[in-house]
Symmetry: C2
Subunit: 454 residues, 2 copies
């Protein structure tokens, strides 16, 4: 029913719960996951009709970077709490093993865990070595909420924040000398209102899937594996509406967002913009740098502005996505065009002008944004009418990848932070910077070359 | 490509932006929404293969109650700020008109709005009467983020909280005498930790759709219509994983949730459990009462418990969903069964025992729950090991419908709140109670009979 190949079409999670230690066992056998496959496969004709259900985990690059955007993300930034370098290595081994299993629709067991935090109510069974790269392990059963769900194109993308290399002046893991120059702390941008509770992190996990429960399930298992080694600092869910293949999705401002994003189907462009090559340390080759920004949008305020004003701010028409004065979304953005009075057709502080490569010495980034929607909370608006009250805590969960943030996001955003007309409506309230190492082959673990070479 | 009938299969939103006042217009015409229909219809073979893309708005009952659960919800509770009864009537007229349009995939314009809050940057065009039930209107353009998305089975369900009838001793709208007896304030249950910022509301909007952006779009338009009349008090997003047709979904505890829920396909059961008949006021006939609870789950704690203990707490096996000691999910729950030592097979405080109709004098409710996932925040656990730190703000966004909450949720939950073994892991932190009036025919507005008869 799926001819796309390359993945595991129609695959459903195997009945891992039935194999998990501590499970009242026999009942599961007869009703293992294979029994429900036909029903699921039918229902998921949906997603399966358009795309395979799995994305590759092993390879030169990590998944989730040039992978076509899935419908949901769960992003978590963690702080390392251990003082031991080997704990970090063991964690990365366990994460690699678990993530590879989950990407193919399997539960996490078996994985490495040297001890559990609590000795009551805990299922712990010592198992011997398996084909996984972890030598011995105590297995913990999968939490189970993805049991019966398809892999949903899950990707898990790991990143290393500055704190892995050095934190508060301490070289905790002997990696300080290995910190890439490109992993330079971001400057404070004009208008930044980053709150510490939503900013930074020593490690990052970006899980993306076509089902929100699959994405969260992945992070949840990985965080459990980090017990006593790292803890979640902040986390964010995001979603991407389904506008259909080949259509540019609209963001919460109602505008098409991503028309001029470089094509992930163009390896040359990705090599130039996204992937670190021999300009970086060996462990970063085939990797990329991730800049994350949680961008709150004052939707109540935006929704009261004239569409004409919105279009001038963006530099595009709302209905079509065409550059101002043009007819079609993919018409070229002509930054030099002027009207009969000699004024720029696309305003000087319009978003598309400031974001354009031509305005930034050719700088480009690969945007991979989601929208976020966290209900309402008490907010004081930054601009007239300066209302206070319960307002949407919603906006853009902006993720972008680049070969070097200094010539990527920093270059592009410095001017925008000062001048972009959209700044009246958007506020950066959190985020982070992470070095996402190159992908790995089966038997290796994420970041292995960083630790081996240090 | 969709033979299901009854809805508007494959329908896409019409190009309303192109008709909205203030839009740089001509560009839109050539590229109106019809032009993108083929591409969308293809991509949405997905959802369309299984179900029609629209749910009916008009009818004896409101949608979103016995409608098969969509993948996403956006729920908002609003406080009325106006002192004028007619403002409430006008709002309900505008809401009815707008919701009916959006349910069929149209944008909100035209709708009634007597004035706008701000006279700068605002697009306001006086339009004359149309076929809609609103006599004259000032039109405001749709915010546009659903333009190009299919209707995604959107339903919008409106509810009236106790505050519509009486608030702080005041009969603001002359409706106090019309408050149904069944809309009795909920008692404080054992363990309740409801916070005011997430509790209550004079009006409720439950928008459900198979696309998160469609659900939020609907609430966002309706909230705009309420400007100067009501404001959002709290809001919550929720999601439902796609386990496939006929499969019971797993909640975030990893258990199948809803096995014994009454069937929405059984009109007799719905008539008995859900729909108000001549036992209620005329405006509630064909309506139902909604109880909402935001139930935070201590997932970190739960995930450290043995699966055997989890199963005893639920009264079901985790892998299969079968009652303890049985093989299949849909096997009957035998509350009288004992083991060889004479102990109950299903523990005395197990969730399924306490929730069973047999344990509550036959009381039943229709559960229509979603999961919610709001990242992490600082939390102190209620139970050992009493850790404090960043923990998941995730759990169950529990919605249930019933003919009378006093003999429904209150009856079922009073005992559970005291005894359910799951209480070690779950905390009710917000919610509300709303009377959802009967559905309406085209030309009527939601709640019309309440206002006419008062």
């Amino acid at each position: 029913m799926n001819e796309c190949g390359g993945g595991v079409p129609g695959a459903t999670r195997r009945g891992f719960l039935t194999r998990a230690a501590g499970l009242a066992a026999a009942a599961g056998a007869a009703l293992g996951a294979d029994a429900v496959t036909p029903a699921l496969a039918k229902a998921d004709a949906t997603a399966a009709a358009e795309a395979p259900q799995t994305e590759p985990f092993w390879g030169r690059n990590q998944g989730g970077i040039v992978t076509p955007a899935q419908g949901h993300t769960y992003f978590a930034a963690l702080d390392l709490t251990t003082t031991k370098r080997d704990d970090v290595v063991q964690l990365l081994k366990a994460w690699t093993s678990a993530a590879s299993r989950m990407a193919s629709g399997k539960a996490i067991e078996p994985f490495a865990k040297t001890e559990l935090a609590y000795n009551y109510d805990t299922t712990a069974t010592v198992t011997t070595s398996s084909a996984e790269p972890t030598p011995t392990s105590i297995s913990l059963p999968d939490t189970g909420e993805a049991e019966g769900l398809p892999p949903a194109r899950l990707t898990v993308t790991f990143g290393f924040g500055p704190g892995l290399f050095e934190k508060e002046g301490k070289d905790r893991y002997g990696l300080a000398a290995r910190r890439p120059e490109a992993l330079a702390d971001l400057p404070r941008f004009a208008g930044d209102e980053l709150v510490p509770e939503r900013t930074g992190g020593d490690l990052s996990i970006q899980a993306c899937a076509d089902d929100a429960q699959v994405a969260f399930h992945a992070v949840r298992q990985l965080v459990r594996l980090a017990d006593d080694v790292a803890q979640v600092r902040w986390a964010q869910t995001g979603f991407m509406p389904n506008f259909g293949t080949g259509q540019t999705p609209r963001n919460l401002m109602g505008f098409k967002d991503g028309t001029n994003n470089p094509s992930t189907g163009d390896p040359t462009a990705m090599g130039k913009i996204v992937w670190v090559a021999d300009d970086g340390p060996d462990w970063m080759q085939g990797g990329s740098y991730l800049v994350v920004r949680r961008i709150r949008i004052a939707l109540e305020h935006w929704d009261r502005s004239k569409i004409d004003f919105q279009e001038q701010s963006f530099g595009r028409h709302k209905a079509t996505g065409a550059p101002i004065g043009r007819d079609n979304e993919h018409d070229a953005v002509d930054l030099d065009a002027t009207d009969k009075d000699g004024n720029y057709v696309i305003a000087e502080n319009a978003h598309v002008r400031l974001a354009a490569a031509a305005s930034n010495d050719g700088a480009q980034i690969l945007r991979r944004p989601y929208s976020y929607n966290d209900g309402v909370n008490f907010t004081a608006e930054r601009w007239p009418p300066w209302r206070q009250g319960m307002e949407y805590d919603a906006g853009l969960f902006f993720l972008c990848y680049q070969r070097d943030p200094r010539t990527g996001f920093v270059k592009v955003f410095e001017k925008m932070a000062k001048l972009d007309m959209l700044n009246q409506f958007v506020t950066h309230v959190g985020g982070g910077l992470f070095a996402c190492p190159g992908g790995v082959a089966q038997g290796e673990f994420i970041g292995q070359r960083l630790f081996e070479s240090a």
